[in-house]
Protein backbone atom coordinates (compact mmCIF):
# COMPACT_ATOMS: atom_id res chain seq x y z
CA UNK A 1 0.00 0.00 0.00
CA UNK A 2 3.03 2.23 0.20
CA UNK A 3 3.38 3.94 -3.15
CA UNK A 4 7.02 3.59 -4.09
CA UNK A 5 8.13 5.70 -7.01
CA UNK A 6 8.31 3.95 -10.35
CA UNK A 7 11.34 4.86 -12.39
CA UNK A 8 10.98 2.79 -15.53
CA UNK A 9 11.21 4.73 -18.73
CA UNK A 10 10.27 3.10 -21.99
CA UNK A 11 13.03 3.94 -24.47
CA UNK A 12 10.73 4.45 -27.45
CA UNK A 13 7.07 4.78 -28.36
CA UNK A 14 7.01 1.36 -30.08
CA UNK A 15 7.43 -1.97 -28.34
CA UNK A 16 10.47 -3.26 -30.18
CA UNK A 17 12.30 -2.48 -26.96
CA UNK A 18 11.14 -3.58 -23.48
CA UNK A 19 12.92 -2.40 -20.32
CA UNK A 20 14.24 -5.50 -18.56
CA UNK A 21 13.81 -3.79 -15.19
CA UNK A 22 10.05 -4.38 -15.50
CA UNK A 23 10.72 -7.98 -14.52
CA UNK A 24 12.33 -7.31 -11.17
CA UNK A 25 11.08 -4.00 -9.81
CA UNK A 26 8.93 -4.39 -6.67
CA UNK A 27 7.24 -1.04 -7.26
CA UNK A 28 6.17 -2.12 -10.74
CA UNK A 29 4.95 -5.38 -9.26
CA UNK A 30 2.80 -3.55 -6.71
CA UNK A 31 1.40 -1.20 -9.33
CA UNK A 32 0.40 -4.11 -11.55
CA UNK A 33 -2.08 -5.29 -8.96
CA UNK A 34 -4.05 -2.13 -9.45
CA UNK A 35 -3.46 -1.34 -13.10
CA UNK A 36 -3.38 -4.80 -14.61
CA UNK A 37 -5.11 -7.28 -12.33
CA UNK A 38 -7.73 -5.00 -10.84
CA UNK A 39 -7.86 -2.87 -13.97
CA UNK A 40 -9.56 -2.98 -17.35
CA UNK A 41 -8.94 -6.66 -17.96
CA UNK A 42 -10.75 -9.99 -18.01
CA UNK A 43 -9.41 -13.00 -16.13
CA UNK A 44 -9.99 -16.67 -16.65
CA UNK A 45 -11.35 -18.17 -13.42
CA UNK A 46 -12.49 -21.74 -14.02
CA UNK A 47 -14.55 -24.00 -16.22
CA UNK A 48 -18.26 -24.34 -15.62
CA UNK A 49 -17.67 -28.09 -15.59
CA UNK A 50 -15.69 -27.68 -12.36
CA UNK A 51 -18.69 -26.25 -10.52
CA UNK A 52 -21.37 -28.45 -12.02
CA UNK A 53 -24.01 -28.11 -9.30
CA UNK A 54 -25.30 -25.63 -6.73
CA UNK A 55 -23.01 -25.26 -3.72
CA UNK A 56 -19.87 -26.43 -5.48
CA UNK A 57 -17.17 -23.79 -5.34
CA UNK A 58 -13.65 -23.34 -6.60
CA UNK A 59 -11.08 -20.90 -5.27
CA UNK A 60 -8.59 -19.10 -7.46
CA UNK A 61 -6.89 -15.71 -7.69
CA UNK A 62 -6.75 -12.63 -9.88
CA UNK A 63 -3.23 -11.42 -9.36
CA UNK A 64 -2.87 -11.50 -5.58
CA UNK A 65 -6.58 -11.16 -4.85
CA UNK A 66 -8.23 -14.36 -3.61
CA UNK A 67 -11.37 -15.31 -5.50
CA UNK A 68 -14.05 -17.90 -4.95
CA UNK A 69 -16.33 -18.95 -7.78
CA UNK A 70 -19.69 -20.39 -6.73
CA UNK A 71 -22.83 -21.73 -8.29
CA UNK A 72 -25.97 -20.79 -6.42
CA UNK A 73 -29.24 -22.71 -6.04
CA UNK A 74 -30.58 -21.19 -9.23
CA UNK A 75 -27.51 -22.40 -11.09
CA UNK A 76 -26.18 -18.88 -11.40
CA UNK A 77 -22.40 -18.48 -11.24
CA UNK A 78 -20.79 -15.86 -9.02
CA UNK A 79 -17.18 -14.76 -8.70
CA UNK A 80 -16.61 -13.23 -5.28
CA UNK A 81 -13.59 -11.73 -3.58
CA UNK A 82 -12.74 -14.41 -1.04
CA UNK A 83 -12.29 -11.96 1.82
CA UNK A 84 -14.69 -11.74 4.73
CA UNK A 85 -16.29 -8.34 5.18
CA UNK A 86 -15.84 -8.53 8.92
CA UNK A 87 -12.08 -8.66 9.31
CA UNK A 88 -10.76 -9.91 6.00
CA UNK A 89 -10.24 -13.65 6.55
CA UNK A 90 -10.40 -16.05 3.62
CA UNK A 91 -13.93 -17.40 3.57
CA UNK A 92 -13.16 -20.52 1.54
CA UNK A 93 -9.79 -22.05 2.28
CA UNK A 94 -9.66 -25.24 0.25
CA UNK A 95 -9.12 -25.37 -3.54
CA UNK A 96 -12.67 -26.64 -4.05
CA UNK A 97 -15.59 -28.04 -2.12
CA UNK A 98 -19.32 -28.24 -1.75
CA UNK A 99 -21.22 -26.16 0.79
CA UNK A 100 -24.66 -24.80 1.54
CA UNK A 101 -23.39 -21.51 2.77
CA UNK A 102 -20.09 -19.62 2.66
CA UNK A 103 -19.22 -19.49 6.32
CA UNK A 104 -16.17 -17.63 7.56
CA UNK A 105 -14.40 -19.75 10.15
CA UNK A 106 -13.24 -16.85 12.25
CA UNK A 107 -16.50 -15.47 13.67
CA UNK A 108 -18.99 -17.43 11.65
CA UNK A 109 -20.30 -14.68 9.40
CA UNK A 110 -22.19 -16.57 6.74
CA UNK A 111 -22.85 -15.57 3.18
CA UNK A 112 -25.15 -17.24 0.71
CA UNK A 113 -23.80 -18.63 -2.54
CA UNK A 114 -24.22 -15.29 -4.25
CA UNK A 115 -22.19 -13.57 -1.55
CA UNK A 116 -25.03 -11.92 0.37
CA UNK A 117 -24.40 -11.73 4.11
CA UNK A 118 -27.09 -13.87 5.74
CA UNK A 119 -26.01 -14.59 9.31
CA UNK A 120 -23.87 -12.79 11.87
CA UNK A 121 -23.45 -14.76 15.10
CA UNK A 122 -24.62 -12.82 18.15
CA UNK A 123 -25.83 -10.05 15.87
CA UNK A 124 -28.36 -9.22 18.55
CA UNK A 125 -25.90 -9.90 21.35
CA UNK A 126 -26.27 -12.41 24.13
CA UNK A 127 -29.41 -12.05 26.12
CA UNK A 128 -29.79 -8.80 24.20
CA UNK A 129 -26.54 -7.35 25.46
CA UNK A 130 -23.79 -6.47 23.03
CA UNK A 131 -24.12 -7.41 19.40
CA UNK A 132 -24.12 -5.22 16.35
CA UNK A 133 -25.57 -1.71 16.44
CA UNK A 134 -29.17 -1.13 15.38
CA UNK A 135 -27.94 0.55 12.25
CA UNK A 136 -26.02 -2.49 11.07
CA UNK A 137 -27.41 -3.56 7.74
CA UNK A 138 -26.35 -7.02 6.57
CA UNK A 139 -27.33 -6.20 3.02
CA UNK A 140 -24.48 -3.66 2.86
CA UNK A 141 -21.82 -6.19 3.80
CA UNK A 142 -21.97 -8.97 1.27
CA UNK A 143 -18.82 -10.33 -0.30
CA UNK A 144 -17.62 -8.17 -3.15
CA UNK A 145 -18.95 -9.67 -6.36
CA UNK A 146 -16.95 -9.34 -9.56
CA UNK A 147 -18.45 -8.79 -12.93
CA UNK A 148 -18.61 -12.30 -14.35
CA UNK A 149 -19.27 -13.90 -17.65
CA UNK A 150 -19.39 -17.45 -18.96
CA UNK A 151 -18.20 -17.87 -22.49
CA UNK A 152 -18.88 -21.29 -23.95
CA UNK A 153 -18.57 -22.84 -20.52
CA UNK A 154 -15.51 -20.90 -19.41
CA UNK A 155 -15.88 -18.48 -16.50
CA UNK A 156 -14.15 -15.11 -16.59
CA UNK A 157 -14.28 -12.24 -14.13
CA UNK A 158 -13.16 -8.64 -13.87
CA UNK A 159 -12.95 -5.94 -11.21
CA UNK A 160 -13.89 -3.42 -13.86
CA UNK A 161 -17.36 -2.09 -14.49
CA UNK A 162 -16.24 -0.39 -17.67
CA UNK A 163 -14.18 -2.87 -19.63
CA UNK A 164 -15.92 -4.11 -22.78
CA UNK A 165 -17.87 -7.36 -22.78
CA UNK A 166 -15.59 -10.36 -22.95
CA UNK A 167 -16.54 -11.24 -26.53
CA UNK A 168 -15.57 -7.76 -27.65
CA UNK A 169 -12.48 -7.79 -25.44
CA UNK A 170 -11.31 -10.93 -27.20
CA UNK A 171 -11.94 -9.62 -30.65
CA UNK A 172 -13.59 -11.49 -33.50
CA UNK A 173 -10.70 -13.78 -34.45
CA UNK A 174 -9.92 -14.72 -30.87
CA UNK A 175 -13.58 -15.30 -30.16
CA UNK A 176 -13.83 -17.59 -33.14
CA UNK A 177 -10.89 -19.69 -32.00
CA UNK A 178 -12.20 -19.76 -28.46
CA UNK A 179 -15.46 -21.13 -29.76
CA UNK A 180 -13.57 -23.64 -31.89
CA UNK A 181 -12.09 -25.19 -28.75
CA UNK A 182 -15.12 -24.87 -26.49
CA UNK A 183 -17.69 -25.90 -29.05
CA UNK A 184 -19.00 -28.80 -26.99
CA UNK A 185 -19.09 -29.85 -23.31
CA UNK A 186 -15.72 -30.58 -21.79
CA UNK A 187 -14.57 -33.14 -19.24
CA UNK A 188 -11.78 -32.26 -16.78
CA UNK A 189 -8.93 -34.76 -17.01
CA UNK A 190 -6.71 -33.28 -14.32
CA UNK A 191 -4.45 -30.50 -13.16
CA UNK A 192 -0.82 -29.46 -13.07
CA UNK A 193 0.60 -26.70 -10.89
CA UNK A 194 4.04 -25.40 -11.66
CA UNK A 195 6.11 -22.89 -9.73
CA UNK A 196 8.47 -20.88 -11.88
CA UNK A 197 11.19 -18.59 -10.60
CA UNK A 198 10.48 -15.70 -12.86
CA UNK A 199 8.22 -12.73 -13.26
CA UNK A 200 4.78 -13.62 -14.62
CA UNK A 201 5.27 -11.47 -17.71
CA UNK A 202 8.23 -13.57 -18.80
CA UNK A 203 5.94 -16.56 -18.89
CA UNK A 204 3.18 -14.78 -20.78
CA UNK A 205 5.66 -13.46 -23.31
CA UNK A 206 6.99 -16.97 -23.72
CA UNK A 207 3.56 -18.38 -24.46
CA UNK A 208 3.10 -15.89 -27.30
CA UNK A 209 6.57 -16.32 -28.66
CA UNK A 210 6.55 -18.41 -31.85
CA UNK A 211 10.23 -17.73 -32.32
CA UNK A 212 11.47 -19.85 -29.42
CA UNK A 213 9.13 -22.79 -29.83
CA UNK A 214 11.05 -24.80 -32.35
CA UNK A 215 14.48 -23.74 -31.12
CA UNK A 216 14.29 -24.14 -27.35
CA UNK A 217 11.96 -27.12 -27.51
CA UNK A 218 14.08 -29.58 -29.43
CA UNK A 219 11.36 -32.21 -29.25
CA UNK A 220 9.15 -30.12 -31.53
CA UNK A 221 11.63 -29.71 -34.29
CA UNK A 222 13.31 -33.10 -34.00
CA UNK A 223 10.05 -34.97 -34.31
CA UNK A 224 8.62 -32.46 -36.77
CA UNK A 225 5.68 -31.72 -34.54
CA UNK A 226 6.12 -28.04 -35.08
CA UNK A 227 8.47 -26.13 -37.30
CA UNK A 228 8.31 -22.63 -38.56
CA UNK A 229 8.47 -24.08 -42.04
CA UNK A 230 5.12 -25.75 -41.54
CA UNK A 231 2.01 -23.88 -42.47
CA UNK A 232 0.74 -21.63 -39.76
CA UNK A 233 0.54 -18.06 -38.65
CA UNK A 234 0.13 -15.50 -35.97
CA UNK A 235 -3.21 -13.91 -35.27
CA UNK A 236 -3.41 -10.61 -33.47
CA UNK A 237 -6.64 -9.22 -32.11
CA UNK A 238 -7.75 -6.32 -29.90
CA UNK A 239 -4.64 -4.38 -30.94
CA UNK A 240 -2.36 -7.14 -29.79
CA UNK A 241 -3.92 -7.77 -26.37
CA UNK A 242 -4.93 -11.23 -27.46
CA UNK A 243 -3.02 -13.33 -29.90
CA UNK A 244 -2.59 -16.81 -31.27
CA UNK A 245 0.26 -18.81 -32.73
CA UNK A 246 -0.76 -21.81 -34.77
CA UNK A 247 0.70 -24.34 -37.11
CA UNK A 248 -0.94 -26.57 -39.62
CA UNK A 249 -0.48 -30.24 -40.07
CA UNK A 250 1.85 -32.41 -42.03
CA UNK A 251 5.47 -31.49 -41.69
CA UNK A 252 8.15 -32.23 -44.22
CA UNK A 253 11.86 -32.58 -44.16
CA UNK A 254 13.02 -29.13 -45.03
CA UNK A 255 16.30 -27.45 -45.57
CA UNK A 256 15.77 -24.52 -43.28
CA UNK A 257 15.89 -26.88 -40.30
CA UNK A 258 17.91 -29.88 -41.46
CA UNK A 259 20.85 -27.85 -42.59
CA UNK A 260 20.52 -25.16 -39.99
CA UNK A 261 22.86 -26.29 -37.29
CA UNK A 262 20.07 -25.60 -34.84
CA UNK A 263 20.59 -27.58 -31.64
CA UNK A 264 16.93 -28.46 -31.78
CA UNK A 265 17.14 -30.66 -34.85
CA UNK A 266 18.64 -34.02 -33.99
CA UNK A 267 18.73 -36.31 -36.91
CA UNK A 268 20.10 -39.18 -34.86
CA UNK A 269 17.50 -39.15 -32.13
CA UNK A 270 14.53 -41.45 -32.39
CA UNK A 271 11.71 -42.59 -30.16
CA UNK A 272 11.70 -46.17 -28.97
CA UNK A 273 7.92 -46.03 -28.76
CA UNK A 274 6.46 -43.68 -31.34
CA UNK A 275 2.91 -44.35 -30.19
CA UNK A 276 3.27 -41.21 -28.11
CA UNK A 277 2.93 -39.24 -31.32
CA UNK A 278 -0.20 -40.98 -32.57
CA UNK A 279 -2.83 -38.34 -32.81
CA UNK A 280 -6.18 -37.72 -34.38
CA UNK A 281 -7.13 -34.71 -36.48
CA UNK A 282 -10.01 -33.30 -34.46
CA UNK A 283 -10.56 -30.03 -36.19
CA UNK A 284 -11.51 -29.46 -39.79
CA UNK A 285 -9.10 -26.56 -40.21
CA UNK A 286 -6.11 -28.89 -39.93
CA UNK A 287 -4.51 -26.80 -37.18
CA UNK A 288 -2.45 -29.13 -35.03
CA UNK A 289 -0.87 -26.69 -32.59
CA UNK A 290 -2.63 -23.51 -31.48
CA UNK A 291 -1.57 -21.39 -28.53
CA UNK A 292 -4.01 -18.62 -27.77
CA UNK A 293 -3.08 -15.95 -25.23
CA UNK A 294 -5.68 -13.76 -23.60
CA UNK A 295 -4.29 -10.72 -21.87
CA UNK A 296 -3.07 -10.66 -19.19
CA UNK A 297 -2.68 -14.18 -17.81
CA UNK A 298 -4.60 -16.85 -19.70
CA UNK A 299 -3.43 -19.37 -22.29
CA UNK A 300 -5.78 -21.63 -24.22
CA UNK A 301 -3.74 -24.47 -25.61
CA UNK A 302 -4.17 -27.14 -28.26
CA UNK A 303 -1.06 -29.22 -28.90
CA UNK A 304 -2.22 -32.10 -31.08
CA UNK A 305 -4.90 -33.72 -28.95
CA UNK A 306 -3.89 -32.13 -25.68
CA UNK A 307 -6.25 -29.37 -24.64
CA UNK A 308 -5.56 -27.20 -21.63
CA UNK A 309 -6.21 -23.83 -20.13
CA UNK A 310 -3.27 -22.26 -18.35
CA UNK A 311 -3.43 -19.46 -15.82
CA UNK A 312 -0.34 -17.58 -14.65
CA UNK A 313 -0.60 -16.25 -11.10
CA UNK A 314 2.18 -13.98 -9.82
CA UNK A 315 3.41 -15.11 -6.40
CA UNK A 316 6.08 -12.45 -6.12
CA UNK A 317 8.02 -10.20 -8.45
CA UNK A 318 10.23 -13.16 -9.36
CA UNK A 319 7.95 -16.13 -8.78
CA UNK A 320 4.89 -17.31 -10.68
CA UNK A 321 2.56 -20.25 -10.35
CA UNK A 322 1.15 -21.72 -13.50
CA UNK A 323 -2.09 -23.67 -13.16
CA UNK A 324 -2.91 -26.10 -15.96
CA UNK A 325 -6.40 -27.49 -16.42
CA UNK A 326 -6.30 -30.38 -18.85
CA UNK A 327 -9.52 -31.40 -20.52
CA UNK A 328 -11.18 -33.42 -23.22
CA UNK A 329 -14.74 -33.52 -24.44
CA UNK A 330 -17.52 -35.31 -22.69
CA UNK A 331 -18.26 -37.32 -25.84
CA UNK A 332 -14.69 -38.45 -26.44
CA UNK A 333 -14.45 -42.09 -27.41
CA UNK A 334 -12.12 -44.25 -25.32
CA UNK A 335 -9.34 -44.16 -27.88
CA UNK A 336 -9.33 -40.39 -28.14
CA UNK A 337 -9.38 -40.05 -24.37
CA UNK A 338 -6.39 -42.39 -24.14
CA UNK A 339 -4.62 -40.41 -26.83
CA UNK A 340 -5.07 -37.21 -24.86
CA UNK A 341 -3.73 -38.84 -21.71
CA UNK A 342 -0.74 -40.35 -23.45
CA UNK A 343 0.07 -37.12 -25.26
CA UNK A 344 -0.01 -35.43 -21.86
CA UNK A 345 3.62 -36.56 -21.77
CA UNK A 346 4.20 -33.66 -24.14
CA UNK A 347 2.90 -30.91 -21.88
CA UNK A 348 3.03 -29.65 -18.33
CA UNK A 349 6.04 -29.44 -16.00
CA UNK A 350 7.32 -32.81 -17.28
CA UNK A 351 6.23 -32.34 -20.88
CA UNK A 352 8.66 -33.17 -23.67
CA UNK A 353 7.72 -29.96 -25.49
CA UNK A 354 6.99 -27.66 -22.58
CA UNK A 355 9.28 -28.45 -19.69
CA UNK A 356 11.85 -25.95 -20.93
CA UNK A 357 9.35 -23.13 -20.45
CA UNK A 358 9.48 -23.90 -16.73
CA UNK A 359 13.09 -22.82 -16.54
CA UNK A 360 13.73 -20.48 -19.46
CA UNK A 361 12.02 -17.58 -17.66
CA UNK A 362 14.28 -18.23 -14.70
CA UNK A 363 17.29 -18.01 -17.00
CA UNK A 364 16.07 -14.59 -18.07
CA UNK A 365 15.38 -13.55 -14.48
CA UNK A 366 18.90 -14.57 -13.52
CA UNK A 367 20.35 -13.07 -16.68
CA UNK A 368 18.97 -9.62 -15.97
CA UNK A 369 20.09 -9.58 -12.33
CA UNK A 370 22.20 -6.54 -11.54
CA UNK A 371 20.54 -4.62 -14.35
CA UNK A 372 19.59 -1.04 -13.64
CA UNK A 373 17.58 1.05 -16.02
CA UNK A 374 19.52 0.69 -19.20
CA UNK A 375 19.08 -2.77 -20.71
CA UNK A 376 16.14 -3.67 -22.92
CA UNK A 377 14.84 -6.70 -24.69
CA UNK A 378 14.88 -6.30 -28.46
CA UNK A 379 11.78 -7.47 -30.33
CA UNK A 380 12.46 -6.74 -33.97
CA UNK A 381 11.79 -10.09 -35.56
CA UNK A 382 9.28 -9.28 -38.30
CA UNK A 383 9.71 -5.54 -37.82
CA UNK A 384 7.82 -3.34 -35.44
CA UNK A 385 4.20 -3.91 -36.40
CA UNK A 386 1.54 -5.49 -34.27
CA UNK A 387 -0.62 -7.27 -36.78
CA UNK A 388 -1.65 -10.71 -37.88
CA UNK A 389 0.76 -12.61 -40.09
CA UNK A 390 -0.20 -15.59 -42.21
CA UNK A 391 2.94 -16.16 -44.19
CA UNK A 392 5.58 -16.52 -41.48
CA UNK A 393 6.01 -17.13 -37.83
CA UNK A 394 9.56 -15.78 -37.74
CA UNK A 395 7.97 -12.76 -36.20
CA UNK A 396 7.64 -11.33 -32.70
CA UNK A 397 4.49 -9.41 -33.41
CA UNK A 398 2.48 -11.31 -30.80
CA UNK A 399 5.03 -10.49 -28.10
CA UNK A 400 5.02 -6.84 -29.10
CA UNK A 401 1.26 -7.00 -28.72
CA UNK A 402 1.59 -8.12 -25.12
CA UNK A 403 3.74 -5.13 -24.30
CA UNK A 404 1.45 -2.76 -26.11
CA UNK A 405 -1.43 -3.85 -23.91
CA UNK A 406 0.77 -3.71 -20.82
CA UNK A 407 2.06 -0.20 -21.50
CA UNK A 408 -1.31 1.24 -22.17
CA UNK A 409 -2.73 -0.13 -18.90
CA UNK A 410 0.30 0.78 -16.80
CA UNK A 411 0.56 4.27 -18.29
CA UNK A 412 4.23 3.76 -19.10
Amino acid sequence: MTAEPVNVKWPEPRTTRVPLGLMSDPAIHALEQQKIFQGETWHYLCLEAEIPEPGVYKTTAIGATPIVVTRDEQGQIHALINRCKHKGALVCVEPCGKVKTLRCLYHGWSYDLSGKLRFVPFEKGVQNKGGMPETFDKSAHGLTALRTTCLHGVVFGTHSATVAELADYLGPAMLAHFKRIFHKPVEILGYYHQVMHNNWKLYMENARDSYHATILHAFYATFKLNRLTMGGGLTVDHEGWNTMNYSIGASLADGEYEGSGLRSVMADVGLADASLLHNRQEFADGITVAIQSIFPGCVNQQIYNTLALRQAVPLDVDRTELHWTFFGYRDDDAELRQMRLKQANLIGPAGYVSMEDGVIGEYVQRGIAGEGQSANAMLEMGGSDIASVTDSRANETTVRGFWQAYRSLMGL
Binding site: L189, Y352, V359
Partner: protein
Protein backbone atom coordinates in the same frame (compact mmCIF):
# COMPACT_ATOMS: atom_id res chain seq x y z
CA UNK B 1 -0.15 -60.21 12.64
CA UNK B 2 3.62 -60.47 13.06
CA UNK B 3 5.11 -61.60 9.78
CA UNK B 4 6.16 -65.18 9.18
CA UNK B 5 9.22 -66.31 7.34
CA UNK B 6 7.71 -65.97 3.87
CA UNK B 7 6.63 -62.42 4.60
CA UNK B 8 10.14 -61.67 5.71
CA UNK B 9 11.61 -63.05 2.51
CA UNK B 10 9.18 -61.03 0.41
CA UNK B 11 10.00 -57.86 2.27
CA UNK B 12 13.66 -58.48 1.70
CA UNK B 13 13.16 -58.89 -2.02
CA UNK B 14 10.94 -55.85 -2.31
CA UNK B 15 13.40 -53.75 -0.36
CA UNK B 16 16.26 -54.96 -2.52
CA UNK B 17 14.41 -53.87 -5.65
CA UNK B 18 13.56 -50.54 -4.06
CA UNK B 19 17.22 -50.00 -3.25
CA UNK B 20 18.31 -50.85 -6.76
CA UNK B 21 15.78 -48.34 -8.05
CA UNK B 22 17.26 -45.63 -5.84
CA UNK B 23 20.82 -46.34 -6.91
CA UNK B 24 20.01 -46.37 -10.60
CA UNK B 25 18.46 -42.92 -10.41
CA UNK B 26 20.65 -41.25 -7.80
CA UNK B 27 23.91 -42.54 -9.28
CA UNK B 28 22.98 -41.13 -12.68
CA UNK B 29 22.58 -44.52 -14.33
CA UNK B 30 19.18 -43.73 -15.74
CA UNK B 31 19.80 -45.97 -18.74
CA UNK B 32 19.29 -48.93 -16.39
CA UNK B 33 16.00 -47.60 -15.10
CA UNK B 34 13.70 -49.17 -17.74
CA UNK B 35 15.34 -52.53 -17.01
CA UNK B 36 13.90 -52.50 -13.50
CA UNK B 37 10.44 -52.81 -15.07
CA UNK B 38 8.94 -55.70 -16.95
CA UNK B 39 8.87 -55.27 -20.72
CA UNK B 40 5.33 -53.87 -20.67
CA UNK B 41 5.63 -52.36 -17.18
CA UNK B 42 3.83 -49.19 -16.24
CA UNK B 43 5.41 -46.12 -14.68
CA UNK B 44 3.19 -43.20 -13.81
CA UNK B 45 3.37 -40.07 -11.68
CA UNK B 46 -0.07 -38.87 -10.61
CA UNK B 47 -0.35 -36.15 -8.00
CA UNK B 48 -2.44 -36.78 -4.92
CA UNK B 49 -4.72 -33.98 -6.15
CA UNK B 50 -5.61 -35.83 -9.32
CA UNK B 51 -5.47 -39.29 -7.79
CA UNK B 52 -7.89 -38.50 -4.98
CA UNK B 53 -10.39 -36.96 -7.40
CA UNK B 54 -10.09 -39.89 -9.81
CA UNK B 55 -8.69 -37.59 -12.45
CA UNK B 56 -6.52 -39.64 -14.80
CA UNK B 57 -3.97 -37.00 -15.76
CA UNK B 58 -0.36 -38.01 -15.06
CA UNK B 59 2.78 -35.88 -15.00
CA UNK B 60 4.64 -38.69 -16.68
CA UNK B 61 3.20 -41.95 -17.92
CA UNK B 62 5.25 -44.65 -19.53
CA UNK B 63 3.51 -47.73 -20.83
CA UNK B 64 6.30 -50.19 -21.40
CA UNK B 65 10.05 -49.96 -21.47
CA UNK B 66 10.06 -48.18 -24.82
CA UNK B 67 8.36 -45.14 -23.38
CA UNK B 68 10.74 -45.28 -20.44
CA UNK B 69 13.71 -45.34 -22.78
CA UNK B 70 12.25 -42.30 -24.50
CA UNK B 71 12.23 -40.48 -21.18
CA UNK B 72 15.91 -41.36 -20.84
CA UNK B 73 16.47 -39.99 -24.34
CA UNK B 74 14.61 -36.82 -23.37
CA UNK B 75 16.80 -36.46 -20.31
CA UNK B 76 20.08 -37.18 -22.07
CA UNK B 77 19.57 -35.67 -25.49
CA UNK B 78 16.49 -33.59 -26.08
CA UNK B 79 15.33 -31.60 -23.12
CA UNK B 80 16.94 -28.49 -21.66
CA UNK B 81 17.21 -28.02 -17.90
CA UNK B 82 19.75 -27.02 -15.31
CA UNK B 83 22.05 -29.82 -14.11
CA UNK B 84 20.61 -31.48 -11.05
CA UNK B 85 20.73 -34.66 -8.94
CA UNK B 86 18.17 -36.50 -6.86
CA UNK B 87 18.75 -38.12 -3.50
CA UNK B 88 16.01 -40.57 -2.51
CA UNK B 89 14.96 -41.76 0.91
CA UNK B 90 12.42 -44.55 1.43
CA UNK B 91 10.49 -45.82 4.44
CA UNK B 92 7.20 -47.25 5.61
CA UNK B 93 6.95 -50.27 3.34
CA UNK B 94 3.74 -52.26 3.65
CA UNK B 95 3.05 -55.42 1.67
CA UNK B 96 -0.59 -55.16 0.72
CA UNK B 97 -1.05 -58.41 -1.14
CA UNK B 98 1.18 -61.15 -2.40
CA UNK B 99 0.99 -64.44 -4.20
CA UNK B 100 3.69 -66.58 -5.77
CA UNK B 101 4.01 -64.31 -8.71
CA UNK B 102 3.14 -60.76 -7.75
CA UNK B 103 3.59 -58.55 -4.71
CA UNK B 104 1.60 -55.40 -4.23
CA UNK B 105 3.02 -52.86 -1.83
CA UNK B 106 3.07 -49.25 -0.78
CA UNK B 107 5.93 -47.23 0.67
CA UNK B 108 7.01 -43.64 1.27
CA UNK B 109 9.61 -41.82 -0.77
CA UNK B 110 11.32 -38.49 -0.36
CA UNK B 111 13.37 -36.83 -3.08
CA UNK B 112 15.82 -34.07 -2.28
CA UNK B 113 16.84 -32.29 -5.44
CA UNK B 114 20.19 -30.49 -5.61
CA UNK B 115 20.98 -28.05 -8.37
CA UNK B 116 24.45 -27.67 -9.86
CA UNK B 117 24.98 -24.35 -8.08
CA UNK B 118 24.18 -25.96 -4.74
CA UNK B 119 20.53 -25.20 -3.95
CA UNK B 120 18.83 -28.13 -2.19
CA UNK B 121 15.11 -28.57 -1.79
CA UNK B 122 12.48 -31.10 -0.95
CA UNK B 123 11.44 -31.75 -4.50
CA UNK B 124 8.83 -34.41 -3.84
CA UNK B 125 7.47 -36.60 -1.05
CA UNK B 126 4.71 -39.15 -1.28
CA UNK B 127 4.08 -42.83 -1.88
CA UNK B 128 5.04 -45.51 -4.33
CA UNK B 129 2.29 -47.96 -5.14
CA UNK B 130 4.00 -50.97 -6.65
CA UNK B 131 3.13 -54.22 -8.36
CA UNK B 132 6.25 -56.35 -8.36
CA UNK B 133 6.74 -59.44 -10.47
CA UNK B 134 8.64 -62.09 -8.57
CA UNK B 135 11.25 -63.81 -10.64
CA UNK B 136 14.06 -65.92 -9.22
CA UNK B 137 16.33 -64.36 -11.80
CA UNK B 138 15.44 -60.73 -11.17
CA UNK B 139 12.38 -59.18 -9.59
CA UNK B 140 10.85 -56.40 -11.63
CA UNK B 141 8.20 -53.72 -11.40
CA UNK B 142 5.03 -54.55 -13.24
CA UNK B 143 3.80 -51.18 -12.15
CA UNK B 144 5.08 -48.27 -10.14
CA UNK B 145 2.57 -45.50 -9.50
CA UNK B 146 4.21 -42.49 -7.87
CA UNK B 147 1.78 -40.32 -5.93
CA UNK B 148 3.39 -37.07 -4.78
CA UNK B 149 1.65 -35.42 -1.83
CA UNK B 150 2.14 -32.01 -3.39
CA UNK B 151 0.25 -30.78 -6.37
CA UNK B 152 3.12 -28.45 -7.26
CA UNK B 153 6.22 -29.09 -9.30
CA UNK B 154 9.03 -26.64 -8.83
CA UNK B 155 10.41 -25.47 -12.20
CA UNK B 156 10.24 -28.76 -14.10
CA UNK B 157 10.38 -32.53 -13.73
CA UNK B 158 12.81 -34.29 -16.01
CA UNK B 159 14.27 -37.17 -13.97
CA UNK B 160 11.72 -39.83 -12.96
CA UNK B 161 10.90 -39.78 -9.25
Amino acid sequence: MNDDHTGLELERRVMALHRRYIRVIDDDRLEEWPGLFSEDGLYKIVTRENYSQNLPLALMSCEGRGMMQDRVTGFRRINVYESQRYSHQGSGLEILRADDRVVECISNYLVVRTMIHGAMSIFSAGVYQDQILLDAHADKFLERIVIPDSRQIDTLLVIPL
